[in-house]
Structure formats: C-alpha cells, structure tokens
C-alpha cells in the first residue's frame, strides 16, 4: 500500500523575478514500511521535496497524496490536523521543547491529539524503553546528550503512530556512536512495527542502512535504488 504518492511535483521559487526550480517534475511513491533515504548534494531539492511531502510547503505544480488524501487541497487548519495525525517529524537540531521533560516532550503530540492520560503514559513509557532512554524521562532536554535528545525526538515523532516519519539529516549533529545507536533503533522500529521512515541525508551510515535510496540532482530524481 502506498503511503505517499507524489506526481509531477514542481516547486519554483521567485516565480516573478528570477525563477528557481528547486524541485523539477518529481514523481515518487513510498510504500508502507519502507526505510528510504533521499540523498543528493546541497541545493539539490531534497529538503524542498520533504517539505512538500510533509505538508509544510505547497508545490507550484503537481499533487501529493498521503494515505489517500490529497493534502494540497486541505485548508491550513485541516492540514495542521492532518500533520498531527499522520506525519511524524524528526528535526536535525532535535527541536525539543526545553521547558518540558523528556517524557512530556514525547507525550506532547498525544496531548495535542487529546489522548487520555493512561494511553499517553503507556505509550511514552513503551517508546522510552524501546529507545533506551527510560532513565531520562524526568530530565529536560538541556540535561540530555545530543544522542539522547534525538532519541526523544524520534520517540515524540512515533508517539502519535503516524503513517510515516520524515527525518531531515537526523544524524547530522550526532557522534558516530550515537548515530549507530539511533539508526539501530529506527531500523528496529521499521522492522518490528513496520514504521515508514523517509530520511533526507548526506550520512553514508544512514544510506547504508536504508532499504531504498533515492538520489536527487538539480531537482530531479537521478536514481532510485531498492536494495
């Protein structure tokens, strides 16, 4: 089953002055349970592509269908709700809420979804255990290492059981040990819980772990390999 269907996506910046096509007619499908890395040099358009797939940016042309819903047709408010229920985000710089503990950060999206306390507790505890960060539950982000923060960020993204997770350079700020550990956890979640991951990355270790690698050059798909 396709989680994402993007057809003829085009994103043009400065259409009225000096038009720049960041994404130039990309079509792709992502199936449930895929572990996909989108790679390419800086400025190739991979982040723009992920932004459009994640409903954060609107394409100049083309459509994005997520789980059967054409997200470009949604109102801003509907799109916000859609992101909350269907898409998990992992940011390069973690972007945890500094005034909340690790567990509260993980529970945050479930709170937005108005999940009951028991469910939130159970889900957060379960994810922290799987991520190996149970002992950090009461600590704030400033008290965690980069690797621990990124694990909390991944747990937060997973907490609401989204259709897929978009992770932009998730290992860019991590040392090699933390990177290995994080990738192992994500690979395990992918294998055991069939969570769909889409990475934008330069990191060879991420590329090595990925089951599918899409290379983008100059806004176009240069190659699409499934291992």
């Amino acid at each position: 089953m396709n989680v994402i269907e993007a057809t003829h996506l085009v994103k043009t910046y400065n259409p009225d002055t000096i038009p720049v096509k960041a994404v130039n007619d990309i079509s792709l499908e992502i199936k449930e349970g895929e572990f996909t890395a989108i790679v390419g040099p800086s400025g190739s358009g991979k982040t723009t592509l992920l932004n459009m797939v994640g409903g954060l940016d609107t394409p100049t042309e083309g459509n994005v269908i997520v789980n059967g819903v054409e997200i470009n047709q949604l109102s801003p408010s509907e799109l916000t709700d859609f992101r909350m229920h269907n898409i998990g985000f992992v940011f390069q710089s973690y972007n945890l809420i500094p005034v909340m503990t690790a567990k509260e950060n993980i529970e945050f999206i479930m709170l937005l979804q108005k999940a009951d306390k028991k469910h939130r507790d159970e889900r957060a505890d379960d994810l922290m255990e799987k991520m190996g960060i149970s002992e950090t539950s009461r600590r704030r982000p400033a008290e965690l290492s980069g690797g621990q923060q990124q694990r909390v960020a991944v747990a937060r993204a997973l907490a609401s059981k989204p259709k897929f997770i978009l992770a932009d350079e998730p290992t860019a700020n991590l040392d090699s040990q933390s990177t290995e550990s994080l990738l192992d956890i994500m690979a395990k979640m992918n294998a055991e819980e069939n969570v769909t991951f889409i990475f934008s990355t330069h990191d060879q270790r991420v590329i090595d772990k990925a089951k599918r690698v899409i290379t983008i050059v100059d806004g176009k798909i240069a190659s699409d390999e499934t291992k």
Partner: protein, 402 residues
C-alpha cells in the same frame, strides 16, 4: 496543556519574567500609593472644610441663596434647634449671623465677612476656640470683642486690644459703623476664614444690624454617611433650604472631579508604561522562540493554540504580579494610614491651603478589584501583538529545514 506549557514558558527566562513581574508589582504598588495619597488630600480638604468652616449641613432662608441679605433670616429657628438638639446624629450645631462689611484699623482697611456667633456652640461646631493663637475667647473685653485671623491682623497691623472699626449695612439698609476691640487672634485651618472672616458675638452683631435671629444654621454630624438622612429629616420639618457642604461649596465637586481625572491619568500613564514593557518582553520571548513555535506548528499545534499560549503566558504573569502588588500596596497604605505620611518639609505651603503636614493615605477596598482588572486588561492588550506575531510565523521559514 496550553496552560501548563504557558506556565513553564514563563520560567524559561527567569530573569526576564521576573523583570516583567517586578515592573507590574511596582506599577500596581505605585498606583495604589498615588491614589491613596490623592485621596488623603481630598479627605483632608473635606475634613478641614467640614470641621472648621461649613459643617455637614447648613440651613438658610431660601431668599438668602438668591441674595445673601441680612433680611433673609432663618424662619422657625426654635423648632429646628429643638429637633436637632435631641437628634443623636448631630454632634454640634451653631446659629450665625453673617454680614459683609469693611474692617478698618488705624493703618488700613479690608473687606471682610462678619460672623456673629454664639460663642459656646461655635466653639463646639468649628473648634474656633482651639484655633486661638493669641488673646482670649470672648471673655475679657465686654464691648464688641472680635476675633480676627493672624493673617488679617498682620495685614491691618493690629494686635490684641487694638481698636478696629467695622462698617456694614443694617436691616434698613443704612450704613452702620461699630467700634470693636481685638480680643483674640486665631489661625484657622480654613484658608477662606483666615483670609477674611472675623467673629463677633451674635448678640452684638444682631444689636448693631437690628435683627434678632440667625441667617445661617451650621450642623455638624458624627459621620459623613449621616448627611443624606439628616438632610431629608430637616427638609421634612422646615421650609428653609437645607444644603450639604458640597452644595454650599461647589469647589468640592470640582476637586473630586479633578481628583478622579488625575487618578485616571496616573493609571493610564503607569499602565501605558507597563504595556510597553509587556509588549517588548513578550515580543522578545516570541522572537527568541521562532524555531520552537515553527516546530509546534509543524507537528500539529493550531494557530489559535499558539495565540492562546502567548496570551496565557502574559496573563499568568499579570495574575501572579497583580495580587503581590495589591498586597504590597494594601500593606503600605495600612501602615501609612495609621502612622501618617509626614510632609513637614512642605508645611508652609500646605498651611496656606489649610492642610496639616501629616497626611493619612487611604483607599477604598473597591479600588483593589478595579486595579486588578486594569492590570489584567493591560496584560491582555500587551500580549495581543506578540501573540499575533507568533501565529503569523511561517513554520517553514522558522525551522528553515525539516
């Protein structure tokens, strides 16, 4: 959830939040102090005017209000006096004969208002006897003794036992002169009385003008709250006009109105200063968190929730600081209300206006909830712009990349 997040956000930058909270506390405290201080001026002004000049109520013949003529005597004096003498609300009363005239010494002359008074009742009503600074109170000089103010004595260059001549119209309209001697010199707390009032015995003045009665009856009550009730009572038993001290002296209303306006202006100035402080701080708080707000929007937080979060942060600071400021203000006023605020440094200037050097700041309890509301409204208004700024942030621009 929003409430909890807002509360935690307040303490994210502890110093900055404490500055805002401190500013609100000091603003509220200063406002309470200023209002209470202004109130004490008003109260002192009214108290002096009531206790030493007008009393709470005055009764005149209706014609006296049109033309303050000696012929307009209070009618039915005996019945009124009988009624008020036994009324528990009445603390003291004094019947007077008031005429306008001239006072002349060997050196100079001046226009004055001559009060013919019952020496005993005037002393209990306006504390006249207590204000003597020199001489005696109508008990040494037998023929036409007068009491004049120190200011007037200075102006006329007279002293105790000096001879002065009073000139005024009698009941028939003839100009009459009377030779009098200064028996006492007083310093009233009423600037008007110090300026141009002299006291004669009522019997002497009545003999000189050819009447037998009074053209003013001043009534001092135990409390201000009794004024309306007593006024109604008196109006029921007499056809004379009964007026409150505020009706007798319209400057009270002017002073009250100007006091209200001054307090409102003060409130606006202090709240405007707070408003700019709040806007500035909250704007900094929002701009500092653009990336985080972008993340919140990305993961599914609605604009209205972001708006509520920023609004709540500000309102919570107001809710925290407001009661502290009010309590500090309350305690300060409670203390100064007992101890008094000593302005001896300015006593000469204050004396000119009939004020004592010590003021007792006071504030009505109903002012506190009003001030709390004003603080919350200010916080609310101050939060709107930063909150709008926060919801207008484009999540894509703020996080740049996913």
């Amino acid at each position: 959830m929003i409430l909890s997040l807002s509360w935690k956000n307040i303490w994210r930058s502890r110093k900055r939040s404490l500055v805002v909270i401190g500013a609100i506390i000091i603003g509220v405290w200063a406002l309470i102090f200023m209002i209470a201080f202004y109130n004490s001026f008003g109260t002192a002004f009214a108290r002096n005017a009531v206790n030493y000049e007008h009393s709470h109520l005055q009764i005149h013949h209706p014609d006296y209000l049109v033309e303050p003529d000696i012929a307009s005597q209070v009618s039915d004096e005996e019945n009124i006096v009988q009624a008020i003498a036994s009324d528990p609300m009445v603390k003291a009363f004094s019947g007077r004969q008031k005429v306008n005239g001239m006072i002349a010494s060997s050196k100079t002359s001046a226009g004055v208002q001559i009060y013919g008074v019952n020496t005993r009742s005037e002393s209990t009503t306006t504390s006249l006897k207590d204000h003597l600074v020199e001489g005696t109170y109508f008990n040494k000089i037998k023929r036409n003794p007068v009491l004049i103010s120190a200011k007037l004595a200075d102006k006329l260059r007279v002293k105790i036992r000096s001879k002065i001549v009073l000139t005024f119209q009698d009941i028939d309209g003839n100009i009459t002169s009377a030779s009098c001697r200064v028996e006492g010199i007083f310093e009233s707390k009423s600037p008007k009385i110090n300026e141009g009032v002299i006291y004669l015995k009522k019997a002497d003045l009545n003999r000189l003008v050819g009447v037998d009665g009074i053209n003013e009856l001043a009534i001092l009550l135990h409390t201000n709250e009794q004024i309306d009730v007593m006024k109604q009572k008196l109006e029921a038993i007499t056809k004379n006009t009964v007026r409150t001290y505020k009706q007798v002296a319209p400057e009270f209303n002017l002073m009250e109105e100007s006091s209200v306006i001054t307090k409102q202006i003060l409130t606006v100035i202090i709240m405007l200063a707070l408003l700019f402080g709040i806007v500035n701080t909250m704007l900094m708080a929002v701009l500092e968190r653009t990336k985080e707000i972008g993340m919140l929007r990305s993961v599914g937080m609605h604009r209205h929730s972001i708006f509520s979060m920023i609004m709540l942060e500000t309102l919570l600071m107001g809710l925290l600081a407001g009661p502290i400021g009010l309590t500090m203000g309350f305690l300060t006023i409670a203390w100064l209300g007992d101890e008094g605020l000593d302005l001896s440094l300015y006593s000469d200037a204050l004396k000119e206006y009939g004020f004592d050097a010590i003021f007792y700041p006071e504030i009505q309890n109903s002012t506190y909830p009003v001030l709390m509301t004003v603080v919350m409204v200010t916080a609310f208004i101050g939060a709107i712009y930063p909150a709008i700024k926060a919801v207008r942030l484009n999540p894509l621009e703020t996080i740049r990349k996913l």
